[in-house]
């Protein structure tokens, strides 16, 4: 059996406005209990890839408090490892690339006993079995592979993502998605490398550009004829979380069971950090419709079309409609919230109206008192 290690790459990730001001996208709360990076980490775990390095470019604290010792995603806690790679001494953020990170941590990354590396990110949410693609990679005899998805909504979604042109399952060219065509083959920025090739390449990259990240490197290899790059297609559900609006849209889309069952599959659990909160408690006047409610929440008011993380309190007479409330949000008596994303520990006092609109959700920052 091939020896495979995983890289969960938090560098070069999109920003979701204020949601990612104090945390990397990987730890942004999703559907009431997950961190966005849980999908990649669970894909590794469910694919039997037990040695994973998480490349962190900033907000290390947030990653550590989410991942803890990593044992949640590891099958065997002796042979498996979740390592956090962090490069501290980089002047200027744009130089702080994933390749730079791997070079800074080369003592840990080079010399691993492994044959292949799978690189995944935290912003394309999907349930993907990497094993199938690793097998295809091995069979192809090529050193680099990329996984893409054929989409029909490239005009509105996946903007600025890489579009790949392929011939016989090999990448022929890259372009940036400017939203000009509906149909496109969008790179999911999941890459498979022969381990030795990756080590060699990252050491060479600096001679080409110190600003290169792994994504650039693959583009460069494919378009300059350095290596042929396999292009493998993925047919499953993908939620691209590239903007704040994406975050809101896909969170709400997943309220639908028909959509949800495409991402959450019985045989493919998504693991996450556990918080030991009791079941949610509903009062005698609670009204709740079309919503996710997480444990530890106490609902005495009305909650409609919303997603509530753990320990959210909705007091009597309060109305929460079309909202995403992060953990510890408290909505006081008689308050009315609509089209709001409330970050952790927001307190809305009694009888306040706070509303955004369908197209512009209002964001309330961490710990705000209103």
């Amino acid at each position: 059996m091939a020896k495979v290690v995983g890289i969960c790459d938090l560098h070069d990730a999109p920003h979701l406005g204020k949601l990612t001001e104090k945390r990397p996208i990987g730890t942004v709360s999703f559907l009431g209990r997950y961190g966005l990076m849980d999908f990649a980490l669970s894909n590794f775990s469910n694919s039997g890839i037990d040695r994973v390095s998480i490349l962190v470019d900033r907000h290390l604290h947030s990653v550590i408090s989410h991942v803890r010792d990593g044992s949640i995603w590891v099958n065997n806690t002796k042979t498996g490892t979740q390592r956090i790679f962090y490069n501290e001494n980089v002047p200027g953020h744009k130089f702080n690339t994933d390749i730079n990170n791997l070079l800074s941590n080369r003592l840990h990354f080079e010399g691993l006993d492994c044959d292949y590396v799978v690189v995944a990110n935290s912003f394309f949410l999907m349930s993907m079995d990497f094993r199938k693609y690793v097998d295809m990679h091995i069979e192809s005899g090529r050193k680099i592979s990329l996984i893409y998805k054929r989409v029909k909504n490239a005009k509105e979604e996946f903007l600025n993502c890489d579009i790949v042109k392929t011939e016989n399952h090999v990448v022929k060219d890259f372009a940036v998605n400017m939203g000009t065509a509906k149909e496109a083959q969008v790179s999911l920025e999941v890459f498979i490398f022969d381990y030795k090739t990756l080590v060699e390449l990252i050491n060479k990259t600096r001679e080409i550009s110190t600003l290169f990240n792994i994504r650039d490197l693959v583009n460069y290899c494919a378009t300059n004829g350095l290596y042929e790059v396999n292009a493998f297609s993925f047919d499953g559900y993908v939620a691209p979380i590239l903007t704040f609006d994406n975050f809101v849209k896909y969170s709400r889309e997943l309220l639908s069971y028909d959509v949800r069952k495409q991402l959450f599959k019985e045989e493919w659990p998504i693991y996450t950090t556990t918080h030991n909160t009791p079941p949610a408690l509903y009062g005698e006047k609670a009204i709740v419709e079309n919503s996710f409610v997480s444990n530890g929440s106490r609902i005495k008011g009305t909650v409609i079309n919303s997603i509530l993380s753990r320990d959210v309190i909705v007091e009597e007479g309060a109305v929460v409609k079309n909202c995403i409330l992060f953990s510890g949000t408290k909505v006081g008596k008689g308050s009315h919230l609509e089209y709001v994303v409330a970050d952790k520990n927001v307190k809305i006092r009694e009888i306040r109206d706070v509303a955004g609109d369908e197209d512009h959700f209002m964001y309330i920052s961490f710990g705000a008192n209103i």
Partner: protein, 374 residues
């Protein structure tokens, strides 16, 4: 807390009065309050008390309980100086034995306890619902110089004859033990929670071993200690405590949580939270036509029908137009479209078929399991 304590949890009982709930598992493994198993309570109480060395004494259907206990990680007992292990009766040099009574379960594990050399042994029951730390009780035991300290709770004097009753003097020193007395001398009922000074208990266990007794703490060891003039102290427990040995009491304790009328302080009090297994499921989902009032629901549940005064466990599905009233619905059960059920405990993985009516207009608690069709 600096006392050197090992806890032993008695978890071997069959729980016959819980019918099919304990057909294939021990009573302490029965689910409670949508998310927990009963044994989570004593185990979490130990963790929150800083007692990190625990033996769980199993006997009846131990497999599921053993698997659940695992390496103790769920309650944090996988740390450096921690130990959580389940100990079933076994074949030894002296032959094969069952645990013949609560005291005998400890007697057969004297070597295990000697190996840990505790000053005090805390004896707990694996089937009680309460949230506490044992520190105050152990402090009292140490300070009073007692040989044994027994946790007692005040019960309604009219009910006292259902319990093991402790008569005490002014200093709460126990003067007499009465097992289910016709004429109770006090209203202080034993909770089956004991702290013993290990050296003393050890001696009494060995003496009891070869006697023709029931080898029971309440019936044999405690009365003998009292007869011998040892110092037995009562510790007055304040707060919520329930023995959930019957369907009625199990249902009622669940309702206490659902209706938020217990002083278990599940919500808000972070210092004594109850730890359990995480099922890694999505937060529960409530559908467009759903209604839920005066209830609790755990992650993984999907509620599309109507729920009132109920406990909805993980991975439960309540379909459209189903009505669930005053029920404890255990994990994985499905209440299909249009089914109606009241006043019931629904065993794990039960399927109630469409349109079926269960226990409507009945005041008795029904226990349902398997496939329930018309």
């Amino acid at each position: 807390m600096s006392h050197n304590v090992v806890a032993m949890i008695l978890a071997g009982g069959k729980g016959t009065r819980l019918g099919l709930l304990t057909k294939k598992m021990a009573k302490p493994a029965v689910s409670f309050a949508a998310k927990y198993r009963i044994i989570d309570f004593p185990l979490s109480n130990c963790a929150n008390s800083g007692i990190n060395r625990i033996g769980v004494l199993t006997q009846y259907e131990p497999t599921l309980l053993d698997t659940y206990i695992g390496n103790g990680e769920k309650w944090g007992f996988n740390g450096v100086h921690s130990l959580l292990t389940s100990i079933a009766p076994r074949q030894t040099d002296e032959g094969a034995n069952w645990y013949k009574g609560t005291a005998d379960a400890i007697t057969q594990n004297i070597e295990f306890l000697d190996g840990l050399s505790p000053d005090y042994v805390l004896i707990l029951s694996g089937d009680h619902i309460y949230k506490t730390t044992y520190n105050e009780m152990i402090d009292l035991h140490a300070e009073s110089g007692a040989d044994a300290t027994i946790s007692v709770i005040e019960v309604d004097p009219k009910e006292a004859s259902r319990f093991g009753i402790m008569a005490v003097d002014k200093t709460d020193r126990i003067t007499e033990f009465q097992e289910k007395p016709k004429h109770p001398k006090s209203n202080l009922a034993s909770m089956g929670v004991y702290v013993f000074t290990w050296k003393v208990l050890r001696k009494y266990l060995i003496a009891d071993r070869d006697l023709d007794t029931n080898h029971d703490f309440g019936g044999d060891i405690i009365p003998t200690m009292l007869n011998d003039g040892l110092k037995l102290q009562a510790y007055r427990f304040k707060g919520y405590w329930r023995d959930v040995g019957t369907l009625q009491s199990l249902h009622e304790a669940n309702m206490d949580v659902a209706l938020d009328r217990s002083d278990l302080h599940f919500y808000g009090d972070m210092s004594t939270r109850i730890y359990t297994e995480d099922t890694y499921s999505l937060p529960h989902y409530l559908g467009k036509q759903a209604s839920i009032k005066s209830s609790i629901a755990n992650q993984g549940a999907i509620i599309l029908g109507k729920v009132n005064s109920s406990v909805i466990s993980n991975e439960v599905l309540i379909e459209e137009d189903a009505v669930v009233d005053r029920c404890v619905v255990m994990e994985g059960s499905v209440i299909k479209r249009g089914a109606k059920i009241t006043n019931a405990i629904v065993a794990p993985n039960t399927v109630i078929e469409s349109g079926v009516e269960v226990n409507l207009n009945s005041k008795e608690i029904a226990l349902v399991g398997g496939k329930v069709a018309r």
